[in-house]
């Protein structure tokens, strides 16, 4: 494929508030995402969710996003108008959130919410009919049996796993090229987690999508994703291919890896991470 | 940094900032001080507080603020517009309105203080007992509260005030009877949620009796939200009291009461509007003050109320 990356970020900064009292969240990071599965991993407060939402410009108005470059394909995300962003969201970029209990509107049936996603980008009477058909089709694609019945249910009437599938369906129906998944499996039971991940994998592969997988679970992403970006305190400390994780060089990454319990490599005591303030002053390492 | 807190050698400012505090009272004093500081950051709240202090001052210093007697009639000077002699003009009996407003502040304050003293402890106690003890105590107390809540505030107060007869004490009782149910409801809700708390379970396991738990643990935790609610209720109490005065119940003539002043001034309103304007603005100002202070208190005391 000769096309460029889907997302390009150079020196992305996000801060809350302005001027002297501004609280920086993301301290100038740079990365690209192509048609691959990229994970952004870090602990709570590292700024990973903020990065995901910054790409879609869905941060609250108090947040100020600046960058040397922040592009989705050829479009400058920082200069784009709200109209352009509305066009991008859903149609070219999708966001999958953590807990379907909260991320779906509780008083609207799920089928209607999925259909709405289509109708936001396709207008006209024909589109209404088409939305209905496409909703059923996408529900089948996410492996929900009896889509006609499920479409009429309310979010509190379906299980967590089904809810997450509905969320995926809702974001995929308009055919985006990029998916940003913000901790999509953290609220699910372990068994359901694997199913949903498998589903995501299949859909991404079959449609050739790019994925930004935000998570705190290093073990999860090393198997699932192609590349891993490690964030700490608003900075990127290391970027590497998933298969090379064991050869990570940065002490933070190494500390993360060694604090994971392993059934094969049993230790009498899990090491406690010692945070080095020096990590805060290093600039992000780009690939 | 740990400073050695020996009482004799610290100035007040240092004592308030000392870390760690030396004992429970020291800690409570420090918390109160920090609360005051937080409160002072609210400009509107400070405005409300200023108004209330002004009213208290007017009530206390009434004899010195005006030379006119609020009760003596002087028919030669009736319905005079505001002037240098009569700042707010005179009413239909020639009484100086400014004097009546200032002395009326005493009536208002009297009502507020008494209603608070009656309503706050009773509502708090009933609510906490209902919430914590549960069972039939809860049922009975809540049924009683429901009955009082089945009528809107003014109507209930009207009914009681009429039944008890005119007069300011009866009006106070009537208003108090309408003001306690919301406090009780709030206290009950707080007590219910606190009941589940682990620290209550811990104290119970230590062998504390029910009453000790209620008084020493639950009631203090309910205090902040109850204080906020009581303050906000005061705004309504003032309006209810003025309403009762307007309808002829409550303080009886010739005692100056702002609501009654509006009512008697009604006849002369078209040609002498000042008779009605001054008392109305006073009522609104005091009610507004309590609303502002209550809002600011809510921001200061209640950490959960995110605005």
């Amino acid at each position: 494929m000769s096309e460029g990356p889907l997302v390009t970020a150079n020196n992305l900064r996000v801060a809350f508030g302005r001027g002297a009292h501004a609280i920086p969240i993301v301290h100038g990071i740079s990365f690209t995402v192509g048609r691959e599965k990229v994970a952004i991993v870090g602990e709570s407060g590292a700024g990973k969710s903020t990065v995901g939402r910054a790409i879609m410009r869905l941060l609250p108005p108090a947040a100020h996003v600046t960058a040397d470059r922040l592009m989705f394909r050829e479009i400058d995300l920082l200069a784009a108008s709200e109209r352009q962003m509305m066009d991008l969201r859903g149609r070219h970029m999708g966001l999958i959130m953590q807990d379907p209990k909260y991320s779906l509107n509780p008083v609207v049936p799920v089928g209607e919410q999925i259909a709405e996603s289509w109708r936001l980008h396709h207008h006209g009477r024909a589109a209404r009919r088409e939305a209905f058909d496409r909703t059923l089709a996408i529900l089948e694609a996410v492996k929900i049996r009896d889509p006609g019945r499920v479409a009429k249910l309310y979010p509190h009437e379906i299980s967590g796993g089904m809810g997450q599938r509905v969320m995926i369906a809702m974001m995929l129906i308009s055919g985006p090229e990029l998916l940003i998944a913000d901790e999509p499996t953290s609220a699910l039971d372990v068994t359901v987690r694997m199913e949903v991940l498998g589903l995501l994998d299949e859909l991404i592969a079959s449609r050739g999508l790019g994925l930004v997988f935000i998570s705190h679970d290093l073990n999860l992403v090393r198997r699932f994703c192609d590349r891993v970006i490690i964030m700490y305190s608003g900075r990127i400390v290391e970027t590497l291919a998933a298969v090379e994780l064991d050869h990570a060089e940065h002490p933070y990454t190494r500390a993360l890896l060694s604090s994971l319990p392993s059934i094969h490599d049993q230790k009498p005591r899990l090491p406690v991470m010692m945070r080095d303030p020096a990590w805060l002053s290093q600039s992000g390492i780009t690939q | 940094m740990i400073t050695d807190v020996s009482r004799q050698h610290l100035s007040l400012g240092a004592w308030l900032k000392a870390d760690p505090p030396n004992g429970i009272l020291h800690s409570m004093a420090q918390q109160a001080w920090r609360g005051c500081l937080r409160f002072s950051l609210h400009p509107l709240g400070m405005l409300g507080l200023a108004i209330i202090l002004l009213v208290v001052f007017a009530a206390l210093a009434a004899p010195w603020l005006t030379t006119y007697d609020p009760v003596t009639q002087n028919l030669l000077e009736r319905l005079q517009p505001p002037s240098a002699e009569h700042w707010f003009g005179t009413d239909e009996f020639g009484r100086d309105i400014f004097a009546r407003i200032v002395y009326g502040a005493r009536t208002t304050l009297y009502i507020i203080m008494l209603v608070t003293i009656i309503v706050a402890p009773i509502g708090l106690l009933i609510g906490v007992c209902a919430g914590y003890l549960g069972g039939w105590a809860d049922e009975v107390l809540m049924r009683v509260t429901d009955v009082f809540l089945s009528l809107p505030g003014l109507v209930l107060a009207l009914g009681f005030a009429a039944a008890l007869g005119p007069g300011i004490t009866n009006a106070i009782i009537a208003i108090a009877l309408t003001a306690w149910p919301p406090i009780a409801r709030l206290a009950r809700a707080e007590a219910l949620s606190l009941k589940q708390a682990d620290f209550i379970a811990a104290v119970r396991l230590q062998g504390a009796s029910r009453w000790r738990i209620i008084f020493r643990h639950i009631v203090p935790m309910c205090l902040p939200s109850v204080i906020v609610r009581v303050t906000l209720s005061m705004a309504g109490v003032i309006l209810t009291a003025a309403g009762l005065g307007f309808l002829g119940l409550g303080a009886q003539p010739p005692m100056p009461e702002w609501g009654a002043m509006v009512s008697t001034g009604r006849e002369f309103m078209i040609d002498s509007p000042w008779v009605v304007i001054a008392p109305g603005i006073s009522i609104a100002a005091v009610s507004l003050a309590f609303n502002l202070v209550g809002d600011a208190l809510r921001d200061t005391l209640d950490p959960r109320g995110g605005e």
């Binding site: 909260y102 308009s174 | 009914g159 307007f246 309808l247 609501g259 609104a284 609303n291």
Partner: protein, 348 residues
């Protein structure tokens, strides 16, 4: 299949139990209300015998009427006979009008109802959008405007504002009419069908009288409505703020929705049911305000009836009016509670 019907059956049983529990609490509240009104009536500083006979009466007649009224019976028996009377629709007669209280109430209540309806309409159509806009522009100009309106509504005494409004709009500007529901000249020309003047005049095609009635109701109705605007807009704002911080709002925007669509099609939908409860509670406050407004505007409704009864120490009037108020309030609360259950999909 058998399992399904069993589950359905037990669910129905639980629902029936809930309903009977609710009915029981309503009955208890009603009983308490009756007790309250009974006590109020008995405590009134008026002699009920003199109310019937007049003040000039000899001892024999006095004793006879005393017995007739059952005042020699123990208090609890008096209460029981009072309850029995109420349940059979006998609320006694009024001292001042001489008519049965029930008849009086049927005449005055629609007047207050009309006022309350106008007020709620004003309150809703002004208050709800105000609250939504305030929440959507949190900290902005509209938010501050809404806050000021709210504070004013909670601080300014309604009877005083009514007087000032009369002064301005009637005396000085002559825009609206003064007291009463319609001009004296027009009284008796409209047959009361619903008791609501605006509706009746429209139904009978009396346009002039309709305009007259409108000019009479607009000021008290708008003022009463203004008071509910304060409460309604504050609650709406608070509910909306709660919704706007939810996750599904971000998900909706991520689909490509505009902010306005998100606010009205999604966030607002979630608060509609809560607003219903707010409207029910507003109603109670409206009755309070109506008592004062009716006195200021000479509006011949329940509020004025009650206050006249108070000043005249008319026991039956006071008891009847207070009880009617309580019953109406109770019904409004029950209806809103039921509606809440029906409308919110989560409670089904």
């Amino acid at each position: 299949m058998a399992t399904v019907t069993m589950v359905g059956g037990s669910a129905r049983l639980a629902g029936a139990r809930r309903l009977s529990g609710k009915l029981l609490s309503v009955a208890i509240t009603l009983a308490g209300l009756l007790l309250l009104t009974f006590l109020m009536g008995r405590l009134l500083p008026a002699d009920p015998v003199l109310a019937v006979t007049g003040s000039e009466v000899d001892k024999a007649t006095y004793d006879r009427v005393y017995q007739q009224l059952g005042l020699d019976l123990p208090i609890w028996q008096q209460f029981l006979s009072y309850v029995k009377n109420v349940l059979t629709g006998n609320l006694g007669s009024s001292l001042t009008t001489g008519r049965p209280v029930v008849d009086d109430l049927l005449t005055v209540f629609p007047a207050t109802l009309e006022l309350a309806i106008v007020a709620i309409l004003v309150g809703t159509f002004v208050g709800v959008p105000l609250g939504v806009v305030a929440a959507a522009n949190r900290g902005g100009l509209m938010d501050h405007v809404a806050r000021i309106i709210g504070l004013a509504g909670h601080s300014i005494p309604i009877f005083w504002l009514g007087l000032i409004a009369l002064l301005v709009f009637y005396s000085k500007l002559q825009w609206v009419a003064a007291s009463g529901r319609i001009d004296i000249l027009n009284e008796g020309l409209v047959t009361p069908i619903t008791g609501l003047m605006l509706v009746d005049t429209l139904l009978q095609g009396e346009w002039d009288i309709f305009r007259d009635a409108l000019s009479h109701i607009i000021l008290p109705g708008a003022l009463l409505g203004y008071y509910s605007v304060a409460y309604i807009s504050r609650m709406t704002r608070s509910f909306m703020l709660e919704q706007l911080s939810q996750e599904y709002i971000i998900a909706a925007r991520a689909k490509g929705m505009s902010r306005r669509q998100m606010i009205w099609n999604h966030a607002f939908k979630n608060i509609r049911v809560q607003l219903l409860t707010v409207l029910a509670l507003t109603f109670g406050g409206l009755i309070d305000g109506a008592v004062l407004i009716e006195t200021v505007f000479g509006w011949p409704g329940l509020g004025q009836y009650l206050t006249r009864g108070l000043t005249m120490n008319d026991m039956n009037v006071v008891m009847g009016s207070v009880m009617l108020t309580g019953i109406v309030f109770l019904i409004v609360n029950i209806v809103s509670d039921r509606l809440y259950r029906i409308l919110d999909p989560r409670t089904r």
